[in-house]
Amino acid sequence: MIPSRDDLIDFVYAEARMLDEGRYDEWLALWMPEGIYWMPLDYKQTDPDLITSLLYEDQFMLRLRVERLNGQRTFSQKPKSRCHHVIQRPFVDLHDPDANRYVTNTSMHYVETRLDEHFLLALTATHELVVAGGALRIANKRVELLNSDAAFGNIQLLP
């Protein structure tokens, strides 16, 4: 199966919706086993390994994050946070069926709220997608906050 550019774009829209609707099992199922969710700390950071990131998580950590959200003793989630994306139409930066590599670039605003507080993050997501098992999958996802080096309070859900 060779995804069209629209397939890639639809995939990114659908992924954001899964997160907003809290459909985390479906969301985890989108990932390749080696997939990494990376949110750099430094602006234009290139090294994920030897300097700190905000997130650099494999499937185990992502699963832990998701399961924790529903834990009975997860006090920072009583009451629960909610999140919401408004994403601009993704750019398809790479569409290479032969290499089975697809890359999109998406500007978005992410709002997270809990009780009477809420905050907005302006960010750009880069999705590395591949086709596996006849469907698109996330090989890697990089989320760059416009002000990644600013001071933040809790960011509890996932942009």
Binding site: M39, L41, D42, D47, D49, L50, I51, T52, S53, L54, L55, Y56, D58, F60, M61, R63, L64, R65, E67, R68, G71, R73, T74, F75, S76, Q77, D149, A150, A151, F152, G153, N154, I155, Q156
Partner: protein, 441 residues
């Protein structure tokens, strides 16, 4: 209304008054006295490696610049132009070359603060500018000490000396540095910057609060253990599990860990062992250490597994993983936490990789463990608004009078270190004895 004279009344041996956490007046007094009299962490000299390198930060509520002068020494100057007050530098860091130049009217200053030049200087002839403080240039802070790369400063001109203030507590800092085969650390990247809507002291106390992990972190560490279980506990456990699992250790573990306190509010957990004890060895590191120190000394250095060392008033270091956390007080109910990591010069990268992972997993605004803690602090800041009870209890394992001027080692679940901090708090909120002042000369 609070004043400097009422401060000691806020601290009792077994409890402290809630105003210590929620009163903005107390906060202001802390800035004017405690943060002037005590030695405060400024930064690491590798942040200003080359001459002209500068780093802008603060001591309490005072904006300062840490800069490497042409004599290769590190200076700490108030970030304030003596002409009209403009901040000389705004970037978090940079290199200013041989001198600073104020962006407003171009007065310039040597990197030790001395006035270098004023444009159209003749305009000041016969004005008596020379007799003013302004003519002296950018003012340096009261005293600066660079201890093996870690730069501390005292705002007050006179006061307790660096060695007298820290005493034997420097052993933790030394051990952290000794863990480099080269005996040197280098800062690794920018710090995490995590905003907390709570008082800074809640965070400092939490560093030796050994009765909260198994409760507050059950949601994160407990869930990790559960998932790993479901996966059949495959070995070897990945770094992530090595880091997070120990947070679920039982009370006994923390009791036996032990707590040591030093005079002037310093102390640490993990006298005998710590949550960092069982990190798997990193190939090549031990050999590199032995090459530098010989085997006995190496074993002695690596044998220390101190968990959290609190340097009063507001930093904590983790020697075994080369992390430093700076609890920066912004208001009675606002604290910015910076979490820094350092590279062990000449050690394998893998150690730094583990440290970077620890930092993001435990101390990032996006960290599930961090969420557990922040929730507690912010709940407490709000809860203390309740008139139900005026005091915060700190008496666990306090069975009688305590002498904080003597080093002590106790059961790892004692709140003695919290009491030690408040003892020092009262001491450095008060006017400093001239004796101490003389000693400092």
């Amino acid at each position: 209304m609070h004043s400097i004279d009422t401060m000691s009344a806020l601290v009792q041996p077994h409890q402290v008054h809630r105003d210590i956490y929620i009163s903005q007046e107390v906060y202001r007094l802390e800035m004017q006295h405690l943060y002037r009299n005590a030695w405060i962490f400024v930064g690491h000299d590798s942040q200003v490696a080359k001459k002209g390198d500068y780093y802008t930060t603060q001591i309490g509520d005072q904006p300062v610049i840490m800069v490497r002068h042409s004599d290769n020494e590190v200076y700490v100057l108030y970030n304030r132009c003596p002409h009209k007050g403009t901040k000389i530098a705004i970037d978090r860091q940079g290199n200013t070359g041989k001198f600073f130049r104020c962006p407003y009217h171009a007065w310039s200053f040597k990197t030790n603060g001395c006035l270098l030049a004023i444009p159209l200087k003749k305009g000041y002839e016969g004005t008596g500018l020379g007799e003013t403080e302004s003519a002296k240039g950018m003012k340096p802070v009261g005293a600066v000490k660079n201890h093996r790369g870690f730069v501390f400063a005292r705002l007050a001109e006179t006061g307790i000396a660096f060695e007298a203030f820290f005493g034997d507590s420097l052993s933790s800092l030394d051990n952290m540095v000794d863990r480099s085969p080269a005996g040197r650390l280098e800062v690794a990247g920018p710090p995490l910057r995590y905003m907390h809507k709570c008082n800074w002291k809640m965070l400092v106390e939490n560093q030796t609060d050994t009765c909260h992990p198994m409760v507050a972190h059950e949601s994160s560490a407990g869930t990790a253990v559960k998932i790993w279980d479901e996966m059949g506990n495959p070995e070897p456990r990945p770094m992530a599990m090595q880091i997070i699992a120990p947070f679920m250790s039982p009370y006994e573990f923390f009791e036996e860990m032990g707590i040591r306190t030093w005079p002037n509010g310093h102390g640490h957990t993990g006298v005998h062992h710590s949550i960092h004890s069982d990190y798997s060895a990193i190939p090549g590191y031990f050999d590199a250490m032995v090459a530098s120190y010989g085997e006995d000394r190496t074993r002695a250095i690596l044998g220390e597994n101190r968990h959290n060392t609190v340097y009063f008033p507001n930093i904590m270091i983790k020697g075994p993983i080369q992390q430093l956390r700076n609890f920066i007080p912004l208001a009675a109910d606002r604290t910015l936490v910076e979490s820094w990591i350092y590279r062990l010069v000449d050690a394998p990268d893998m150690l730094l990789a583990r440290t970077a992972m620890y930092n993001r997993m435990i101390n990032a605004p996006t960290s599930i463990v961090g969420h557990d803690d922040l929730e507690m602090y912010e709940r407490a800041q709000e809860g203390l608004a309740a008139d139900g009870l005026d005091w915060v209890n700190v008496q666990r394992l306090r069975t009688g009078p305590e002498d904080f001027d003597a080093e002590a080692i106790e059961n790892g679940t004692t709140e003695r270190q919290m009491r030690n901090q408040f003892d020092a708090w009262v001491k450095f909120m008060a006017p400093q004895p001239a004796a101490a002042a003389r000693a400092a000369e």
